[in-house]
């Protein structure tokens, strides 16, 4: 069901908790602000976070003839000129209780990933962002196999700066090479924290590791994203805020928005160029 999807971008990382989901969310928001129609597919089956982050935890997926209808992120704000849309799909929507665990071995996970890729009615989507679990195992192998026919644009690899994290992420880069997935760029997340009291920047998880890793592997470095507790609070407090200001507008005021604008520009330049050159979906890279 990916015929109408123009670009498929994977968000990967060998390491957990580096901010894959929060990078996916911010890319989606920034792309939507740029007028794109975005789909977010969360294939982290044992730890789906996307529904919480978009404040659509209560939503359920509806079955339509021909497949599942993804959940629309409603509170984006007034659909004014040039604003896109965000739809998402996650295993979280299929659970009875939010605390339920999904205890599945590989074959069941493989089947679910396949179903997510074939049975969801995405409609006209400019960018489909695929948020993944950490590691290089069942979900990733299945994803790479399933996507081979639609030739995805490539992967954005997220890391945090410290060596413990880049060591795992190097493995993910090697995975991409092995399965023939283009690496669009590396994002270094949690890079430095500016103290709200004295404005000194502390590198809690050290800094610069992502840029060095990108250089080592000869891939593009998309940018470094600082730690901003206010962004997490913004996502967490969506439920409490009742004013008319939508998520898109609020994100526009976030300190992280300019950073992601820069990252999105690089992403757009890379993916749109491939189409302009007539080389199809990402083959030219």
């Amino acid at each position: 069901m990916l015929e109408n999807v123009k670009h498929v971008v994977l968000v990967l990382s060998g390491k957990g908790g580096v901010g894959k989901s929060s990078v996916s969310v911010q890319l989606a928001l920034t792309l939507a602000r740029a007028g794109k129609k975005v789909g977010v597919l969360d294939i982290d089956l044992t730890g789906p976070n996307i529904p919480r982050m978009f404040n659509v935890e209560e939503e359920k997926v509806h079955q339509a003839p021909g497949g599942w209808i993804p959940v629309k992120v409603g509170d984006l704000g007034s659909a004014g000129d040039g604003v896109g849309s965000i739809e998402c799909m996650s295993l979280g929507f299929l659970l009875r209780d939010r605390g339920d665990s999904v205890v599945w071995r590989g074959p069941k996970k493989t089947a679910m990933v396949r179903q997510f890729l074939t049975d969801v009615l995405w409609g006209d989507v400019d960018y489909l962002l695929v948020d993944t679990p950490p590691g290089t195992s069942d979900e990733h192998i299945s994803l790479a196999e399933q996507l081979r026919s639609v030739s995805p644009d490539g992967a954005i690899v997220v890391t945090t700066p410290q060596a413990i994290s880049t060591a795992d992420v190097c493995k993910e880069l090697n995975f991409c090479k092995k399965v023939g997935l283009d690496i669009l760029g590396v994002i270094e997340n949690m890079s430095g924290f500016v103290c709200p009291h004295c404005s000194t920047c502390t590198n809690i998880f050290s800094s610069g590791g992502g840029a060095v890793m990108a250089e080592q592997f000869g891939v593009d470095f998309f940018g470094a994203v600082p730690i901003d507790p206010a962004f997490n609070l913004m996502l967490e407090r969506q439920k409490e805020t009742t004013d008319e200001v939508g998520l898109l507008q609020r994100y526009g005021e976030s300190k992280l928005f300019p950073v992601f604008e820069g990252i999105t520009e690089k992403l757009l330049a890379k993916t749109e160029k491939a189409v302009a050159n007539g080389s199809g979906n990402g083959e030219g890279g």
Binding site: T46, R105, G106
Partner: protein, 344 residues
Amino acid sequence: MVILKVPVASEDVPQPSGAAPKLVAPEPEHCPGPESQQAGKMDACAGCPNQQICATAPKGPDLDIPLIQARMATVAHKLLILSGKGGVGKSTFTTMLAYAFAQSPKTQVGVCDIDICGPSIPRMMGAENESIHSSSSGWSPVYVADNLGIMSIQFMLPNQDDAIIWRGPKKNGLIKQFLKDVEWGDLDFLLIDTPPGTSDEHLSINSYLKGSGVDGAVVVTTPQEVSLLDVRKEIDFCRKAGIKVLGIVENMSGFVCPNCEGESQIFHATTGGGRALATEMGIPFLGAVPLDPRIGIACDYGESFFDAYPESPACEGLMNIIKGLRGQVGLPPSQDGVEEMDES
């Protein structure tokens, strides 16, 4: 395909030995599992290239379980370090716990890293360039101190950055070997560091160790709800699997600026953090460890944070947690009373 440096010469990659048959293709949808009684006989097996292999493989109880039990008979306490969420500090906590236990020279500690796709323990303990040696009695763990041995897939990789692109059954096979073929010897503690999630690794380690008795699991989380959401699932998994949860540890809770000493909440506990989750779930809250950039640096360089900064608030928090944990497994709260430890 990465070829592991397996200490036993003949095999390319460690295959699940014993009951599990060697498959010629990945398992299909709704695969009952090659080791199950229905293997090769279910509807889903029709047309699967493995059908014949599964159908003719010897069935019955896993022949390796008694071997694992024999190995584990000399291990007094087995602790799992779990978390549904990645990057919350499972490996860091495991490392610090191991160093703390090993401070007493009489206590023998083993660390088994079953995170196959992202092993971090060797680097955190400064042993990433080591490899495993084998003797007549099995694979020897890599010793970072006289009384502290570790085992991880990282020791078997030809290149440090090699990706392990394995599906479930291969991961299970290696985990089994870590329990069955490693010469752990007499241990007071075996700490098992796990990957995030609730999948193959977790199911396997539980089923392999069930007969030997696991003391329980320590669940690590960070304060924000997005993390607690996944950790709640892990606790649900523990309940379903019959693993006792010894307690919750909250990591990265609060950050004190080294410049102005002002405190900030980097990962906001909008829903009450680990403490509220512990109350909600009716399990002990072992304590909180604040964010300290020096912990990360110590891990990157493979140094013991305990030895380097014994006075830091993070160390204090950890010592409290360890005290609580020792209580949970029925040991006296302090390391100094080694003589009192009748288990050793």
